[in-house]
């Protein structure tokens, strides 16, 4: 929620802004560290993250929202190199995905 408010307050970001990266990853306790560690080590901004287990918990699906248009190619290539990443795809103008989620969480 904090993120949403910050965005509204600064008025800097268009809600349709941002790139949504969808990952399928092996599900074990270190995966989140590998993904987040990559972002901090390479100084990429990671705005939002959502993770769900799939297939009886052997895999997870992850959604990452990034605002890294200029570095996007590098971000994708570096994520793809991680051993635990099985699939990677991305979409532009997908902040709506997280906005809907946030609205839901707020109700909850």
């Amino acid at each position: 929620m904090q993120n949403l408010k910050t965005e509204e307050a600064t008025g800097m970001k268009n809600p349709t802004d941002g790139i949504l990266i969808e990952l399928t990853v092996s599900n074990h306790p270190g995966v989140m560290s590998h993904i987040c560690g990559l972002f901090s080590r390479r100084a990429y901004n990671l705005e939002k993250i959502l993770c769900f287990p799939k297939r009886n918990g052997t895999e997870s699906k992850m959604w990452l929202l990034v605002h890294e248009e200029s570095k996007l190619e590098q971000v994708l290539k570096q994520i793809e190199k991680l051993e635990d990443v099985q699939e990677i795809a991305y979409r532009r103008n997908s902040t709506g995905f997280f906005l809907q989620l946030e609205a839901m969480v707020e109700k909850y």
């Binding site: 560290s33 560690g37 190619e73 590098q74 290539k77 051993e83």
Partner: protein, 562 residues
């Protein structure tokens, strides 16, 4: 079906993979592994004096052979000590397998004795890492680890094994067969043609070879390319020896301490053919001003290296040997008379050495003298500092894996243990470590390991009693405000070596002569040779950190300050 515990299974797996030497230090959390290693008939253990030494010994084996090196450390301080050597392997793409002991699973997270989060700490400095949670995971994990360490762009892999997993008994029937290496990816033909057209039509091309050429064993193919198309060829620090530095087209290293003529030629080139390089800042200087007039062809096995720092006009992604093999048939034979004359002119105008700098009492002369005595079969390691740059500048490297040096991480303390590892893996070769008094002190305890293993390692200490490159930078860029770069006591390294039981020669009181040097190099077993070097002997030319490569300071026939 055979019953064994996890530790025994790990050792069996390593034997099965053909590992014959492991460097390491035992401790509480990896004692089951050591108990299993004790009975191995094919693996020799090298007991080191510090885990960082163990990591670099494994690196010395890996860098000199291309096969993965294996090292062991215990939990906590063992793991933290070995981290530097792993980070070093990561930055230089060296295949390494590090197996650390961890506190038992039941104690993980309790701040147990000698517990650190080895898995978490090693994420950013390994190609991949594992925390094994049950002995049943061992076969698959070890096989994956070898595959990851050696396939594609090589790198270090760490496996953290809790003590109770090492002790867990399991029934084991077969080694999971190692996965076959993936077929090398051929490059797209249209891109190959495009690259060939660019090379054929370029007026002033330069071939730029890095460590990737050595990793893919593509040195001979690179040589065929440069000879067919008459390409002047520069090599990165990691690429030195990819082709012989004595080849008439070889321009030596590029970048911060390149020959002035090499950086000037790069400034003038219209096509940069980059193979297995990553455009490191020490090589390129200010990246936005590197080779300002050149188109770029970039060949690399790691897609994330292409376009990372410099946009390539053509990217050839895949194994370099494949790329070069595909490229060669489309390359026209050319002489490039004009371009070669221009480069000869630059080299005559700005020589890297002059006769006065090549007397054996001066760094360049000493290094060339050692090279002449050691011959082409010798393996050369260095530490990090002035001695390293002087060696990179003038040692006549002639083959891949002859020169082992810490490039990316620039780790002082690399040279001695890497030399030990190289000597272990190449018992028939002489191994020479050029070191400095500062660097040697960072892993000096491994003198004991060299003596214990009776290795043919000669350590030549270029002793200026200071942190030479720091001293040089303070002189050039901090108004001669020398601080914390001079040692105020004069260490007697020859006596220290003898204290470890190592022979030594000290040129402090007797003038350096070829005969004494020859005697020291040809005596069997390890030997330390101390050579005093004037503190004011600097490494020139030098590009100031952050500046463009055209901004060189010093070198013969050039102004000291630009």
């Amino acid at each position: 079906m055979e019953k064994m515990n996890g530790a025994e299974l790990i050792i069996r797996m390593l034997e099965h993979r053909g590992i014959t030497t492991i460097a390491g230090i035992p401790g509480g959390a990896n004692l089951p592994l050591y108990n299993a290693l004790r009975t191995s008939s094919t693996i020799k253990h090298i007991l080191c004096r510090h885990e960082q030494g163990a990591g670099f010994i494994a690196q010395g084996m890996a860098r000199s052979t291309g096969r993965p090196g294996v090292c062991f450390a215990t939990s906590g301080p063992g793991a933290t000590n070995i981290i530097t050597a792993i980070a070093d392997a990561y930055l230089d793409s060296v295949p390494l397998l590090c197996i650390t002991g961890q506190v038992p699973k039941t104690l993980i997270g309790t701040d147990a004795f000698q517990e650190v989060d080895t898995y978490g700490m090693s994420i950013p400095i390994t190609k991949h890492n594992f925390l094994i949670r049950s002995a049943a995971e061992i076969p698959q994990t070890i096989n994956r680890a070898f595959a990851i360490a050696t396939q594609g762009r090589p790198g270090p892999v760490l496996i953290d094994v809790p003590k109770d997993v090492q002790q867990e008994v399991l029934e084991f029937d077969s080694y999971d067969e190692p996965e076959p290496p993936p077929m090398p990816m051929p490059c797209a033909t249209d891109k190959i043609r495009l690259a060939a057209d660019m090379i054929n039509s370029a007026a002033r091309p330069i071939l730029y070879l890095g460590g990737g050429v050595i990793n893919s064993g593509a040195g001979d193919l690179a040589l065929r390319l440069l000879e067919k198309s008459s390409l002047p060829t520069t090599m990165t620090l990691m690429g030195l020896g990819a082709i012989s530095t004595r080849h008439p087209n070889a321009l030596g290293m590029l970048g911060m301490h390149a020959a002035r003529s090499t950086n000037m030629a790069l400034e003038e080139c219209d096509l940069l053919i980059a193979a297995g390089v990553r455009f490191d800042d020490r090589a390129t200087g200010k990246i936005s001003e590197f080779c300002p007039n050149a188109d770029v062809i970039h060949m690399d096995i790691d897609p994330s290296e292409v376009h990372k720092l410099r946009r390539a006009n053509v990217a050839l992604i895949g194994d370099l040997a494949c790329c070069l093999e595909d490229l060669l048939p489309f390359i026209k034979e050319q002489q490039r008379q004009q371009w070669r004359e221009r480069i000869n002119e630059l080299q005559k105008m700005y020589p890297l050495t002059i006769p006065e700098s090549l007397v054996p009492q001066k760094p360049y002369g000493l290094i060339r003298k050692v090279a002449a005595l050691a011959g082409d079969e010798a393996i050369i390691t260095t530490d990090v500092g002035k001695h390293q740059m002087w060696t990179a500048q003038v040692y006549p490297f002639c083959r891949p894996r002859q020169f082992l040096t810490s490039g990316g991480l620039g780790t002082m303390g690399f040279g001695l243990p890497a030399a030990i590892g190289a000597a272990l893996a190449n018992p028939d070769r002489l191994v020479i470590c050029f070191s400095g008094d500062g660097s040697l002190q960072m892993n000096i305890q491994e003198l004991a390991t060299a003596v214990e293993q009776k290795l043919n390692v000669k350590i030549i200490v270029l002793n200026n009693n200071s942190l030479g490159l720091v001293h040089q930078q303070q002189g050039l860029f901090y108004d001669n405000n020398f601080f914390a770069s001079d040692y105020t006591i004069d260490i007697d390294f020859a006596t220290i070596a003898r204290g470890f039981g190592m022979q030594s020669v000290d040129f402090r009181y007797s003038p350096l002569s070829g005969e004494l040097l020859q005697d020291a190099l040809s005596a069997p077993g390890p030997c330390l040779i101390n050579v005093p070097i004037d503190k004011n002997e600097e490494v020139y030319p030098m590009v100031p950190p952050g500046a463009a490569n055209r901004t060189m300071i010093g070198g013969y026939n050039a102004k000291l300050k630009n």
